[in-house]
Amino acid sequence: MKETWQEKARGKRAGKGVNMFKAFLIKYAEIGVKGKNRHLFEDALVHQIKVALKRCEGKFFVHKTQGRIFVEAEGEFDFDETVACLRQVFGISGICPVVYAEDEGFDKLAERIVEYVDKVYPDKNKTFKVNARRARKDYPKESMEINADLGEVLLNAYPEMSVDVHEPDIMLNVEIREKIYIYSEIIPGPGGMPVGTGGKAMLLLSGGIDSPVAGYMIAKRGVKIDAVYFHAPPYTSERAKQKVVDLARIVARYAGPIYLHVINFTDVQLHIYETCPHEELTIIMKRYMMRLAEKLALDTECLGLVTGESIGQVASQTLASMAVINEVCELPIYRPLIGFDKQDIVDVSEKIGTYETSIQPFEDCCTIFVAKHPVTKPNPKYIRRHEEKLGEKMDELVKKALETEELIIVE
């Protein structure tokens, strides 16, 4: 069975109980192809890495050099914790733990390579290839020469090892710059794009399983998110609100700080309940949520709304219902989970760590007054007509809801 990177990392650390890695080389896939905008994406990634590493023990120096991003630890740091943090930064495709040292001549380098292989690969029964890059052209040997010479040194030191230049088990990268860098392992990152490169959107966050996942998916594409939660006291409790804050906090680990707008929705909801046919309650309620969310979005420079809807999951998530919901907004509504099955969504929520929080049993405002048989194919004409009955009173209630907004900054 193949070792996981965690096992490998532990193996490395087992070497004399000292963490030999002092730096990480950050690989990024998609942002490499962005042409002239490339530096913007790289700067955003560097920024996001810096933000993420604030949560880790230790001091880090994050910098860009010649098309790569390095994270160097200054002094002691917790390897596992740091890797875990970096794995939450969108835009990173791989994290390579790096050993670096001063250039003290080729013989010293050969010694280091032998030591590196010994610590990182206790089992020597492997094929390898040395891949040297000489960024500093005044180094006395050329890349090809370094490859051959280091290969020979390793074969002499570990006769069980063999060279395979096409599909090696171990790709031993040696980079000669001001210092010498050695790395061979790539820990997979989350992929995606650095948050902030894709504009900003307003996430409708409930206490459920889906909306945090939707937020995660949108943020993964580089979009910064604000969130809005509709609170309906006394029908929903302070604990339900706390649950949403907790969820936002988990999503913020990936998406960066989230401005959570809490809107008191009770009066709007009760007015709909009193005035409109009961089976249309949910759909009309959702239309008002969208209207409110759009107003907030426009005030906060968001370019779209994001929901956790997926087709057919509940009555208000049929194509017909979503069409009726869409017509109240000018801004596009993004639904990243639209084609997901529930189980797929649950899988992601478990992976990102929101599931346990999402399943705490607090009532949210959507379920409180729900009809037994809500409409699944709402007729937009009827819906509009019934909404008209809400009258000017509704405009006032909406205005009041927006005015009494509570802003929570979740980090």
Partner: protein, 390 residues
């Protein structure tokens, strides 16, 4: 106005108690097992606390064990006795309306091969002695009955049950969970044929994280915690000196003022129940004060069902106006399931989810209750308008 009517969940610590505990934590912070002076200081505080509590219960100081709270006391009593006497018999008796600390421990003992009989209760939440009598067997090693129910305040006939148990089988031990009753009723284990009794600190204006278990000196208990052998090897672990001292001081304060406090609580309860009964669509669960059955109801708990109102919504609506109450009991409110006590009392399905518990303390006054009643009169009809349409 802040009105705290959830005193069965926990109580406000008496300020003197908090001050005394702070003093102990900062000054007499020694370990009572230490041989030096600091240790002795702490030991003396422990002794004083024991003396106080022993006096209140009219028991011997040696018969008191300090625990981490009601749950541990209940666990130690049940598991400790079951394990020490299992060769004598494997039958246990309890009631259907016990606190989860008892019920869940009983379920655990069932898994260990013990048989448990759960006594039913009547519409007032009281057991019937005939049921107890019928359930007693030669191999019944322990009966555990709660003194005061946490959800409706029903008080069980402890002295009568104790006498009955000993008459039927002198070998059967009797445990009483007095977590809700202690401080609100006079409880004397020796006179009531009670062999083990659980008490908690934070229900009597003392601190959380401390409790008491009385164990009659003739009773053997096998410990459930192992370690340094403190408290006669029955409950290892360094004693929670400030907690124990705080609990003892709170108990002392309550019983010094007992007659007056209980009379005040009873007045509050009558006043509140009168107000509730004037409202439409309400039902007070359990025995009413001054009922023909005599005693049988705690002076500090009122359980009310509000027809057509979801208890959780009412709870939050009251909270918005500074009034803090419980839906069912606090320990089960996290899991939204109908209360076992109310179910056992035969409350209809419709009312199960519409029941609120108001519980008073010595800090409660009529002005607060007037305010609560006026808020209820205002919001209950409003909430009824917006219940889920069918």
């Amino acid at each position: 106005m802040e009105v705290y009517l959830d005193n069965s969940a926990t109580t406000q610590v008496f300020p003197e108690v908090a001050a005394y505990m702070t003093q102990i934590m900062c000054q007499q912070y020694g370990n009572p097992s230490s041989l030096h002076l600091k240790g002795m200081e702490a030991e003396q505080i422990l002794r004083g606390a024991k003396e106080t509590l022993a006096k209140i219960l009219k028991v011997n100081e040696k018969e008191l064990l300090f625990t981490s709270g009601g749950t541990e006391s209940d666990n130690l009593a049940l598991r400790g006795v079951a394990s020490a006497y299992q060769r004598r018999g494997r039958h246990l008796i309890t009631t259907q309306i016990e606190h989860p600390a008892i019920l869940q421990t009983m379920h655990y003992l069932e898994e260990q091969g013990f048989q448990v009989t759960y006594l039913p209760v009547d519409a007032y939440g009281r057991i019937h002695l005939e049921d107890l009598q019928r359930s007693m067997r030669q191999d019944t090693i322990l009966v555990s009955i709660m003194h005061t129910n946490n959800e409706v305040g029903a008080q069980q006939p402890i002295a009568e049950a104790g006498a009955l148990i000993k008459r039927m089988n002198p070998n059967t031990l009797f445990h009483v969970d007095a977590v809700q009753g202690f401080g609100k009723a006079k409880i004397y284990p020796k006179k009531m044929n009670v062999d083990l009794l659980s008490v908690s600190g934070h229900k009597i204006h003392g601190p959380k994280g401390v409790g008491l278990l009385y164990v009659d000196e003739k009773v053997r208990v096998r410990p459930i915690l192992f370690g340094g052998g403190q408290q006669g090897n029955l409950r290892s672990g360094t004693e929670n000196v400030p907690g124990i001292a705080g609990m003892a001081m709170a108990a002392k304060k309550l019983y010094e003022n007992y007659d007056e406090d209980v009379r005040k609580l009873e007045e509050c309860k009558s006043f509140f129940i009168d107000g509730i009964q004037q409202m439409d669509g309400t039902r007070v669960n359990g025995l009413l004060p001054g009922n023909p059955h005599g005693e049988g109801t705690a002076p500090h708990v009122v359980s009310v069902s509000f027809k057509g109102v979801r208890s959780e919504v009412l709870l939050h609506a009251l909270e918005e106006r500074g009034i803090f109450v419980s839906a069912g009991s606090a320990c089960s409110a996290r899991k939204p399931q109908p209360s076992a006590t109310l179910k056992a009392m035969g409350i209809s399905q419709e009312l199960l989810g519409s029941t609120i518990r108001f519980s008073f303390s010595v800090f409660t006054n009529q002005q607060e209750l007037e305010y609560t009643l006026s808020v209820l009169r205002e919001i209950v009809p409003m909430l009824r308008m917006y219940t889920r349409k069918r």
